[in-house]
C-alpha cells in the first residue's frame, strides 16, 4: 500500500531524467505524474466498490498483480506515450490494491479507527519518503529502476493476501456485512484535494528547481528533500499531543503554506535556505494529511468506499495542482531564462576582457542556448577552455561566476509565482477545514 501511495512522490525525482532521455518537454513529462493521479482519482471509488463485490483479498491480489505488470511495462518503455499508457494501467491496479487494503486492514490491526490511522500514516510517510527513494534509485541505477523495483515489492505484498483470496473463493464469503455506504465527508475531502495540490506542487517544483534550475544531481536533490520526511516524523510526534483533528489540520495547512511561501521568496540559490521551508512543509503535511484522512474516514463505513473517496480527493488535488501550475512555471522558466541570458550577456559585453574573447564567449553562449532550447542552460562549457594568461583567466572566471549568478537568479525566480499559488491553495484549504467542525474524532 505504501508503494502505491508513495508512487507519485517517488517518480518526481526521476522526471528530469525521463525529460532528458525521452526528449520531451516539461509539460509532456508532467503527464507521467498527471496520468497516474488522474486515473487513481477516477478509479478509486469504483475500485472500492469492486473490491467489496469481489472480496478485498482477491481485489488486492489482482490489483497488486496489475500494478506490478504495468510497473514492468513502465520500466521497459522507450517512449513517452508508452510510459504514460503503462502509468494509467498501473494506477488502475494501484486504486484496486489500495482501497481493498483498507478493507483488509481492520482485521490486521484490530479496529477500523486504527486502520484509518495506519492508512493515513502510510500515505503521509509514502508521500514524504518517496522523493528520497526516487532520487537514490535514479542516480545509482536509472529512472527505469524506480518502476522495476515496484514489481518485486508489489508481488511480495500480494503473497500473504493470496491466502485471504483463496479463503474468499473457497467459502464464498465476500463481505460479512454489506452495509449501506454513507455520504463521503465533503469538506474533509475537499480540503484534502486542495492540500494535496499544494504538497504535490511543493515536491514537484522543489525537485525541478534543484535538478533543472540549480543543476544538482538527483542523489543530492534526494538528500536535500529528505528534510521533508524527517520533519514529517517530528510532525507526527506533535500530532500525538493534540487529539482534535481540526486544529491539527488547520495548523498543518498553515505550515504547508508558510513553507511554500518561503520557497517563493528564497533570497539566494543555496541549498541551506531551502531547509527551513521544507521543515515547515514536512511538519505541516504530517499534521494535515493524517487529520483530514481521519476526519474523512471517522465514523463512516465501509472504510474501503470512504478510503476510495479520500484517495480520489488526494489524487484529484495532485492533478489540479500539476495541471494548474505547470503552464505557469513553464512560461516563467522561458521568460526568466531569456532575462538571465540577457543579464549574463550584458555582464560579458560590459566587461573589460579582450573583444575577440568576448565574441568567442558570446558565440559559445549562443550555441549553448541553441543546444538546450527551452531549458535552463548549463553555462560552464561555454567558458572552456579557460585562457592560459592568468589575468585573462581570472577575468573570465569572474565573468562565468557573474553569468551563473544571473542564471541562478532566473531559475529561482521562475518558480516563485508557482510556489505562491501553491501556498494560496494551502490557505484556501483552511475554509473547508473550518467547515468540517461537525465531525471531531
Amino acid at each position: 500500500m505504501g508503494v502505491v501511495l508513495a508512487d507519485s512522490s517517488i517518480v518526481v525525482l526521476a522526471l528530469p531524467d525521463i525529460y532528458r532521455e525521452l526528449d520531451t518537454s516539461i509539460s509532456g513529462v508532467t503527464w507521467v505524474l498527471v496520468s497516474f493521479n488522474l486515473v487513481m482519482a477516477l478509479a478509486a471509488v469504483p475500485a472500492a466498490l469492486l473490491a467489496r463485490r469481489t472480496g478485498p483479498g482477491r481485489a488486492a491480489a489482482v490489483g497488486l498483480a496489475i500494478f506490478a505488470g504495468a510497473g514492468l511495462a513502465c520500466g521497459l518503455a522507450d517512449e513517452l506515450t508508452t510510459l504514460i499508457a503503462a502509468r494509467c494501467v498501473q494506477a488502475l491496479g494501484g486504486a484496486l490494491a489500495v482501497t481493498a487494503a483498507l478493507e483488509l486492514l481492520p482485521a490486521t490491526v484490530g479496529s477500523e479507527r486504527r486502520a484509518a490511522t495506519v492508512w493515513a500514516a502510510a500515505g503521509a510517510t509514502g508521500a514524504a519518503l518517496g522523493p528520497a527513494v526516487g532520487g537514490l534509485l535514479t542516480e545509482l541505477v536509472s529512472w527505469q529502476s524506480i518502476f522495476l523495483i515496484q514489481v518485486p515489492i508489489a508481488l511480495a505484498a500480494a503473497v500473504p493476501i493470496l491466502s485471504v483470496a483463496k479463503h474468499e473463493m473457497a467459502t464464498g464469503v465476500i463481505e460479512p456485512e454489506l452495509r449501506r455506504t454513507g455520504r463521503p465527508h465533503l469538506w474533509a475531502n475537499l480540503a484534502l484535494a486542495m492540500i494535496s495540490a499544494a504538497i504535490a506542487a511543493a515536491l514537484f517544483l522543489l525537485v525541478l528547481l534543484l535538478i533543472e534550475g540549480w543543476r544538482l544531481s538527483p542523489i543530492v536533490a534526494a538528500l536535500v528533500v529528505t528534510v521533508m520526511p524527517l520533519a514529517a516524523v517530528a510532525g507526527g510526534k506533535l500530532a500525538d499531543l493534540v487529539p482534535e483533528a481540526r486544529p491539527r489540520a488547520a495548523a498543518g495547512a498553515i505550515l504547508v503554506s508558510g513553507g511554500l511561501a518561503g520557497l517563493a521568496f528564497l533570497p539566494k540559490a543555496t541549498i541551506v535556505l531551502t531547509l527551513p521551508p521544507q521543515i515547515l512543509v514536512g511538519v505541516g503535511l504530517s499534521l494535515v494529511l493524517s487529520a483530514l484522512t481521519e476526519t474523512a474516514l471517522g465514523g463512516r463505513a465501509p472504510q474501503a468506499i470512504h478510503g476510495g473517496w479520500t484517495i480520489s480527493a488526494r489524487h484529484a488535488g495532485v492533478v489540479i495542482g500539476l495541471l494548474a501550475l505547470t503552464p505557469i512555471f513553464t512560461a516563467e522558466i522561458d521568460q526568466q531564462r531569456h532575462d538571465a541570458i540577457d543579464a549574463g550577456t550584458a555582464v560579458i559585453l560590459d566587461s573589460p576582457i579582450n573583444p575577440l574573447l568576448k565574441l568567442d564567449l558570446a558565440e559559445k553562449v549562443s550555441d549553448r542556448l541553441e543546444e538546450e532550447r527551452g531549458k535552463v542552460p548549463t553555462i560552464g562549457p561555454a567558458f572552456e577552455p579557460l585562457p592560459e594568461d592568468s589575468a585573462e583567466r581570472s577575468e573570465v572566471e569572474q565573468l562565468q561566476s557573474e553569468l551563473q549568478d544571473q542564471l541562478d537568479r532566473g531559475a529561482t525566480h521562475a518558480f516563485s509565482t508557482s510556489f505562491i499559488l501553491a501556498a494560496l491553495l494551502g490557505l484556501i484549504a483552511l475554509f473547508p477545514i473550518g467547515l468540517s467542525r461537525e465531525v471531531e474524532l
Binding site: 486544529p247 559585453l349 549562443s366 541553441e370 537568479r409 532566473g410
Partner: protein, 170 residues
C-alpha cells in the same frame, strides 16, 4: 487549548520565515534588467585602443538594437555566428537589408559617441562616419565584433588617407 497553541505557533513560524526571507532580499532575487539600448550609455575615459574598441562595439550594438527594437544583448548573440544571425533574422522577420541599415546606424552612433567622448578626433570621425554608412553588411558586423583590429588598421579600412589619420588615434 493545545490546538489553539498549535495553530498560533504555525502562524508565527510561517510569518517569521517569510518575513526573514523578504528582509534578506527574497522579493528581488531575479536577473538584473538590461538597459534600454535607445538610452545613451556613458563612455568611461578610454586610455587605450582596446578600451576605445570595447566601447565603440557596445555603442554600435546599442544603436543597432535600438533601431531593430531588440536588446543589445540579443543582437550581440545574433551577430556572433552566421547561424545565430540566420536564427535571429528568421525569428524577428528582419531581412539583410534592414539588418545592414540598423548596424550602419549603430556604427554612426558609435562614431558620434566616440567623438563626443574625445576618443576619436574629428579628423578620423568624419571619414569613418562616411565610410560606415556605406559598408556592406558582413564588414559592418566585423567592425562591430572586432572594432580593435579595424580601428588599429585604419589605413587599410579607410584607404590611403588612413595612413595619415591613424596617428590621430590614441
Amino acid at each position: 487549548m493545545r490546538g489553539r497553541v498549535l495553530v498560533l505557533g504555525s502562524i508565527v513560524a510561517s510569518l517569521l520565515l517569510v518575513g526573514a526571507y523578504l528582509a534578506a532580499g527574497g522579493s528581488s532575487y531575479e536577473p538584473e534588467q538590461v538597459q534600454n539600448p535607445c538610452q545613451p550609455r556613458p563612455w568611461s575615459n578610454p586610455q587605450s585602443l582596446s578600451e576605445i574598441a570595447n566601447q565603440f562595439s557596445v555603442s554600435a550594438l546599442d544603436g543597432a538594437a535600438c533601431q531593430l527594437g531588440v536588446s543589445r544583448e540579443t543582437l550581440a548573440r545574433a551577430l556572433a555566428t552566421p547561424e545565430a544571425r540566420e536564427r535571429f533574422t528568421k525569428k524577428y522577420g528582419i531581412d539583410d537589408e534592414k539588418l545592414a541599415k540598423a548596424i550602419r546606424a549603430g556604427l554612426v552612433r558609435a562614431v558620434d559617441d566616440a567623438e563626443e567622448a574625445g576618443a576619436l578626433s574629428p579628423l578620423i570621425a568624419v571619414p569613418l562616419r562616411e565610410t560606415v554608412q556605406q559598408i556592406p553588411l558582413d564588414q559592418a558586423i566585423e567592425l562591430v565584433n572586432d572594432a580593435e583590429s579595424v580601428l588599429g588598421n585604419v589605413n587599410s579600412f579607410l584607404g590611403p588617407a588612413g595612413d595619415i589619420l591613424e596617428e590621430f588615434l590614441p
